[in-house]
């Protein structure tokens, strides 16, 4: 039996952790945030009357398995103190940046919620996964003024105090699944993000649509569904001027799925997807695109260069047209499909484990005892991240047993 450390508890990290644990190993799953799950927890199910194969449910299944598996120990609000490598093993001193709730010990009784004087405890419950977690920025616990209220209220001892000293963990292999950071669309001010309330990022649109039926902000004056929605692809990806010259790989998929969801909720809505190239390359997306085009969702070649206000609270988009120069189009709402990019915090963490990012900032898959997987290695979707996490786990576990490959051209059975 070996011990593995997995840093990052998004889909890639959890898929790898489960693969290690299923093979009979011990796993320390470390998460810097207060809760496990990564960004996928804020994504919505994009099914209409039928599944659109977005994969968010499979992520929840994975988290439920991780929470139930006895071989996986979870720590959240992790602060990596020191990282040392000696004799093929990695020793990590793991501290806690603040009080944290072990989601495996949490029985979701809710007693900590009213006990917290600063209302810092949140509950996550969806898709068969439920636990409480502490919002670190709101927690009033401090080294000079410790606040044990939640710990005293917890009947199972699931809440642990901040641990500045840290405990030493030794591992035979380390998997880094540090995740990504979405592009900040404020860096492209001409697209109107932050200036107009009806310009959303893809992630915002997902979060809104997971809770509301219409694509409107909670504080919007009118909750009427926008009749005409435009998706602008490649915001912050495939853009050499921003030094982000890579395809973010997931935006076409999520934009098309959100378009399908919007078209289903409001069959009369006009939906336009402005794209440079549509990346529909797997067995789910090719039929999805055909279905959308048959339903009347327009896929227009070319990405609008600016978004301005028009009469009646609408938005005017300037669309480059190679023939006529430029033309304008008006829409009620705009969704910016912001691309995935490397997370600067991941860079610092990876450097401590001896992995240096490539020119774009993504981590190499690595070798030896440290490997990277998921969106910190390359932009990819949920199934891709899980598969890469599992493949990396296999690489770390392999070489610890001997086997052989036979070949069989024909008769010698």
């Amino acid at each position: 039996m070996s011990t593995y450390i997995v840093v990052g508890s998004g889909v890639a990290g959890c898929a790898a952790a489960l693969a290690f644990a299923k093979a009979g190993n011990k796993v320390e799953l470390l998460e810097a945030e207060g809760r496990i799950g990564g960004k996928v927890l804020s994504y919505c199910c994009k099914a209409t009357d039928s599944c659109s194969r977005c994969g968010v449910c499979t992520a929840h299944d994975l988290f439920a398995q991780i929470l139930a598996h006895p071989g996986v120990a979870i720590r959240t609000a992790v602060d990596l103190r020191t990282v040392r490598e000696a004799g093929g093993r990695t020793s990590v001193r793991v501290g806690a940046s603040g009080p944290w709730i072990d989601p495996k010990a949490c029985i979701d009784c809710g007693r900590c919620v009213p006990a917290c004087p600063s209302r810092a405890i949140r509950r996550y419950a969806r898709g068969g996964v439920s636990f409480h977690h502490i919002e670190g920025t709101q927690c009033a616990d401090a080294p000079d003024a410790p606040c044990p209220s939640c710990r005293n209220a917890c009947p199972t001892g699931a809440i642990h105090a901040a641990d500045p000293a840290g405990t030493l963990k030794k591992a035979d292999g380390v998997l880094l699944a540090l995740g990504h950071r979405p592009f900040d669309p404020a860096l492209k001010p001409r697209l109107g993000y932050g200036r107009f309330p009806n310009v959303f990022t893809g992630a915002e649109a997902e979060e809104i649509l997971s809770r509301r039926t219409t694509l409107t902000r909670a504080d919007a004056a009118s909750t009427a569904a926008p009749r005409s929605v435009a998706f602008i692809q490649c915001v912050g990806s495939r853009d050499p001027l921003l030094k982000r010259n890579w395809c973010s790989a997931v935006c076409c998929a999520y934009a098309l799925r959100l378009a399908r969801l919007l078209a289903h909720r409001d069959p009369g809505a006009e939906i336009t997807v402005y794209a440079i190239d549509v990346q529909d390359f797997d067995k789910a997306l090719t039929p999805l695109r055909a279905e959308l085009e048959a339903k009347g969702v327009k896929i227009v070649r070319g990405v609008p260069s600016s978004v301005d206000s028009a009469a009646g609270g609408r938005l005017r988009l300037l669309v480059e047209d190679p023939k006529s120069g430029a033309r304008t189009a008006e829409h009620d709402a705009v969704v910016l499909s912001v691309g995935l990019g490397p997370d600067p915090r991941a860079r610092a963490t990876a450097a401590r484990f001896g992995l240096d990012p490539d020119a774009d900032g993504f981590l190499p898959e690595g070798g030896g005892g440290v490997r990277a997987a998921g969106t910190c290695a390359a932009p990819q979707g949920i199934p891709g991240s899980m598969a890469q996490g599992r493949a990396a786990a296999l690489e770390l576990m392999s070489g610890r047993a001997g086997g052989h490959v036979g070949s069989r051209a024909g008769g010698h059975g």
């Binding site: 390359f281 891709g384 069989r408 008769g411 059975g413």
Partner: protein
């Protein structure tokens, strides 16, 4: 005796006295039943008091499915013998009492289910000897597992289920067959090569893209075409593999001789590490990319090829003539090998490639346990994806074969007197669990393959099939529709 385990998180569920009175049931109050300690304490009570059916009552928040699974294991109770009821914090006592009564009635009808443990065969058969198949075999070997590689063409029959597949092979030379047993199968058979003599290919003028670089390197300066067209997405939208190959082939051609090159495609598929850079390099080298919509027409005219398509960037028809055209095989609607698909008995997607379009199967699982797919045969033609799939398949096969295959014998049961051998169930079963027992002259279910979906029971014209854990009585009891004890007792098995 039926045990009712009542978690303290619920407080008073409904009248406890009433629960106690329920015939043969005993209430065990407990703390934190959803934790491992809770499960252990329940298992102790089950053993000490000879409980053979358990009902766990907890709050809505508890991860009850996991609790039930671990309790079943800890207390050695069969599927269906442990049931959980979750109650929201608010709720009226009468409704709760009714749910508890219905669950108890259903539990009483659950028959004894035996478990069968079989030792799986340790070997894995990898079908397909290409790069994907090799990657899968190497990954298996690194996990300490023996893999045998074969070409799809030499497999003649596949029978059995997870842990025990019997595969028949054609002997070398074609005379006779031999058989061998495997624990799992990894299918990495690729896609059939595009037939260079079929439409749209014209020998010497319109050739498969895969042959382009070889062909160009063999040409003398005089024979070398002045212009070259590569066509992607001809019949179906293709993956990144064709795009990468097209860019590389054009750059290779330009490095040999100055040649005008066009790439016709629906969309530039750049979603992979390095592909955007490759696209930029190709454009800087002067490769012209034409993004077309709808159909493209290729005509071998005179000594060259005429290409006509509608350019969606300019919004107009374009027509070019070139000396040589190459068509990507990935853009042709090639389904997976039909014979192999039929032997495997697994579903296909809209393009006829292996594995259904189901998010819960991605990337390597199929509807049949023990059969895994990887690479081009499932539509993942892009090299890095295929290798990643292969490793996932190897890991899944390893996980499956590392421990005994444990099967609860709660599979579909065929009543031989009623079965008319119409084969509806055999054709319908998504998991190939229904077979024909020639001796008994009736359909029969393979317990290891049965997933208890109930399709066969629902569709059998003679109502000859039942699922023991989902008998009519149990379903009626659960839905609260069978309050009268006489009808329930009639259903009760000895």
């Amino acid at each position: 005796m039926t045990g009712i385990f009542l978690c303290s998180c619920l407080g008073e569920v409904c009248g406890r006295a009433e629960l106690e009175k329920a015939a043969g049931a005993r209430v065990f109050p407990g703390e934190r039943l959803c934790t491992p300690q809770g499960t252990a304490s329940m298992a102790v009570s089950i053993r000490e008091h000879g409980v053979d059916r358990a009902l766990v009552l907890g709050c809505a928040a508890a991860q009850v499915d996991a609790v039930c699974a671990s309790l079943r294991k800890a207390a050695c109770l069969g599927t269906g013998r442990v049931r959980a009821l979750r109650f929201a914090k608010r709720g009226n006592a009468e409704g709760r009492a009714a749910s508890v009564r219905a669950a108890l009635a259903a539990l009483d009808l659950v028959p004894e289910v035996r478990t069968r443990k079989t030792k799986p065969n340790r070997e894995v058969l990898v079908i397909g000897c290409g790069a994907t198949g090799r990657a899968a075999s190497e990954a298996l070997a690194s996990l300490g597992r023996t893999a045998l590689m074969t070409e799809a063409a030499s497999v003649t029959d596949i029978r059995g289920s997870a842990g025990r597949f019997t595969v028949r092979f054609r002997n070398v030379g074609g005379d006779g067959e031999n058989a061998r047993t495997f624990g799992a199968l990894i299918v990495a058979a690729g896609l059939p090569e595009p037939d260079a003599s079929r439409k749209p290919f014209v020998p010497g003028r319109i050739i498969p893209l895969a042959d382009l670089s070889d062909r160009l390197s063999g040409l003398s300066r005089r024979e070398f075409p002045a212009s070259l067209a590569v066509v992607l997405d001809m019949e179906i939208d293709e993956t990144r593999a064709g795009f990468e190959e097209a860019c590389r082939a054009c750059l290779d051609a330009k490095s040999l001789r100055p040649v005008e090159t066009w790439v016709f495609l629906h969309d530039a598929r750049v979603a992979g590490p390095g592909l955007e850079d490759l696209y930029d390099r190709a454009r800087e080298a002067g490769v012209q990319f034409v993004k077309y919509g709808g159909r493209i027409r290729l005509d071998a005219a005179g000594s060259g090829v005429k290409v006509r398509a509608r350019d969606t960037v300019l919004g107009e028809e374009v027509e070019i003539s070139c000396g040589l055209a190459a068509v990507s095989g990935y853009g042709l609607a090639t389904p997976a090998d039909a014979e192999l698909t039929a032997m495997l008995g697994i579903g296909t997607d809209a393009l006829g490639r292996l594995q259904e379009n189901n998010i819960r199967l991605l990337p390597e699982l199929t509807g049949r346990a023990g059969i895994f797919v990887a690479g081009a045969c499932r539509g993942a033609t892009y090299g890095p994806d295929a290798v990643r799939d292969a490793r996932n398949a190897a890991l899944s096969a390893h996980e499956l074969l590392s421990r005994p295959v444990e099967t609860e014998l709660s599979h579909a049961v065929v009543d031989g007197d009623k079965c008319a051998l119409c084969l509806t169930c055999v054709r319908l079963c998504p998991f190939r669990a229904m077979t024909v027992n020639a001796e008994k002259k009736q359909a029969e279910c393979v317990p290891e393959s049965c997933m208890h979906c109930g399709l066969c029971a629902g569709e059998c014209p003679n109502k000859a099939i039942t699922l023991p854990l989902w008998s009519d009585g149990i379903i009626l009891a659960l839905s609260g529709a069978a309050p009268d004890a006489a009808s329930v007792a009639k259903e009760k098995r000895p």
